[in-house]
Symmetry: C2
């Protein structure tokens, strides 16, 4: 009988583990896997390296615009790209629930492979654990990405008075899509998660002056800007009408009473750049299909004289100004 | 009211996430953390690097001789040490169940810190996810370790006819301890998991000729030797009386009908070394407290002419010989 579900013995380290790993995982991942049957993968780099880890626990595991496999590659790849690095290598750690569908696992593995091919990423190490039914929900994946830093390292430490704040695309889309899925809201539209690898769009920015870059995942744009303001002790002001938001996302926010600024993104980054540099950067971003909606949304307006003044201010079309709070509470667990 | 349990909002990416990460995780990990508040950590290396990832799902999370925090550092550190690398850096990914005890999380963080200090390891990147109650069991941790390869890279590809097989210590102890815990067998002894970082013992082996090295975790010694035999297409013969096993572990195996060869270890490695080199290696291993029981247990006896002959043979004290099978089925999920 053909096995259709993950069994506990697939995580034993014995014969069945071997059949899962060699027969399914290695088989599907194929050429993106640097497969050597050893405990650890080996690589070299003459340049400084950026490393970032993330665990992915998203629910549902398949969603419009992606799945947990695509997400785990994009998410970790983007995190190293945010340091000015070219993503190069990945590790993959699977935690599978006993009874999980092997068909679903295969789909996820194909997504991982496809994204690794898109990004030119090699998988250097992997691990598979199986836990009894009820001890985990379907599948969790941890990916650690390693990238080579070719240029100056981007860091929030560089943030300076007068810096312009750019977003690379429309915000809140991933969060809105997952919200609709989880609340069983049937969107009469083709709205899809923005889940994507950002490095191909960012590659052209090598010669540009960039102070800091961050992808606006959990907590959205509001979390990134508040973190920047707090860490660099500055005031940031953003201009509401200039923030790109898809009309469908605006609609979802209105129906559900959400704030698009706090919704998660999986393919949008925020860039802080010294005055005078933004036009060049926008031109490069907009020349890439992912960056068509890139625009300047605000500026670092003040050095804060104390922690209380390190804040984010939103001005609307009528000139009214309010604070953008650090997102609080949890509206939607398992967003990524 | 003081918060005693993990809440969903601790994983939101917002204010409460921040309080968990800065107030508890950063606070406890302290100097072992290269904390820069960025998406990715940065490091450099002139030497080749080994990288290995593992997810830890052990149950119970606290056990005689360690906890999931100690285990996650030792396990990943050992995996890179097996390639002849000095473990240098770690990433940490936590998946926490809503309602998990913050007191337990703190204990685990202290264990992680202590092991990182012992191994001189720096934590470069971390991630914390919280899933709703029932979607995970207490805590899972993923660690990815990176190490610098100072000498020749050890690899199963080097395995050759005549190679001697060394184990660095008594086998099966971690597996036996977890078995007793899970079966609520009250051991009238001080038997503790062998969970430990192996690199300090192995550091002295830099000048020795070593073909391959593996830590015998899930699937135990039986899995390592079968993998070696299959990958290198050789026959390996081991001698039962020479295999070190603690009397308490022998007792547990007799009571529960277990095979010590298939029990997991978390602080024992298997070394394949060319003929004539083993005495030098044993001397170095035995000079370290972890290697007091190190000994030669067998040899690569034949080049196999086909996959069927690539096997592991155990000879007992009376000269009887039998195959050591690749462990099959799953006796004990969540051993690591």
């Amino acid at each position: 009988m053909k096995q259709t579900q993950i069994m506990l013995s697939h995580g034993s380290g014995g014969l069945e583990s071997n059949s899962l790993i060699e027969g399914i995982i290695y088989e599907i991942l194929g050429e993106v896997l640097v497969h050597n049957g050893e405990d650890a993968g080996v690589f070299e780099s003459k340049m400084p390296l950026a490393i970032s880890t993330d665990s992915y626990v998203i629910s549902p595991i398949f969603f419009p615009g992606g799945d947990i496999g695509k997400l785990c590659v994009c998410g970790s790849s983007n995190d190293v790209a945010m340091r000015g690095a070219k993503p190069m290598y990945l590790t993959l750690g699977f935690i599978l629930e006993e009874g999980f569908s092997i068909e679903s696992l295969k789909k996820i593995l194909y997504s991982i492979k496809q994204e690794a091919l898109i990004g030119g990423l090699k998988i250097l190490s992997g691990d598979t654990k199986v836990v009894p039914k009820g001890s985990a929900d379907k599948i969790f994946i941890n990916t650690t990405a390693v990238g080579q830093i070719h240029n100056a390292e981007y860091s929030v430490k560089n943030l300076a008075l007068g810096d312009e704040i750019i977003v690379s695309g429309a915000i809140g889309t991933h969060g809105a899509v997952i919200f609709c899925q989880r609340n069983e809201i049937n969107l009469q539209s083709d709205l899809q998660s923005d889940c994507v690898q950002l490095y191909p769009m960012l590659e052209g920015l090598k010669e540009c002056k960039i102070h800091s870059m961050r992808d606006a995942t959990r907590g959205g744009l509001a979390a990134v800007l508040n973190e920047w303001a707090n860490t660099a002790c500055v005031e940031i002001e953003i201009n509401e009408p200039s923030i790109p938001i898809l009309p469908q996302v605006k609609g979802v926010c209105e129906i559900l009473g959400l704030e698009a600024l706090s919704l998660a993104n999986e393919g949008v980054c925020v860039i802080a750049t010294p005055q005078g540099e933004s036009q060049k950067i926008l031109q490069i971003l907009r020349s890439h299909s992912l960056g068509k909606n890139a625009c300047v949304i605000g500026r670092v307006t003040k050095k804060a004289d104390n922690a209380k003044n390190a804040r984010v201010i939103l001005s609307n079309a009528w000139g009214a100004r309010r604070y953008v709070e650090y997102p609080q509470g949890e509206l939607l667990p398992r967003i990524c």
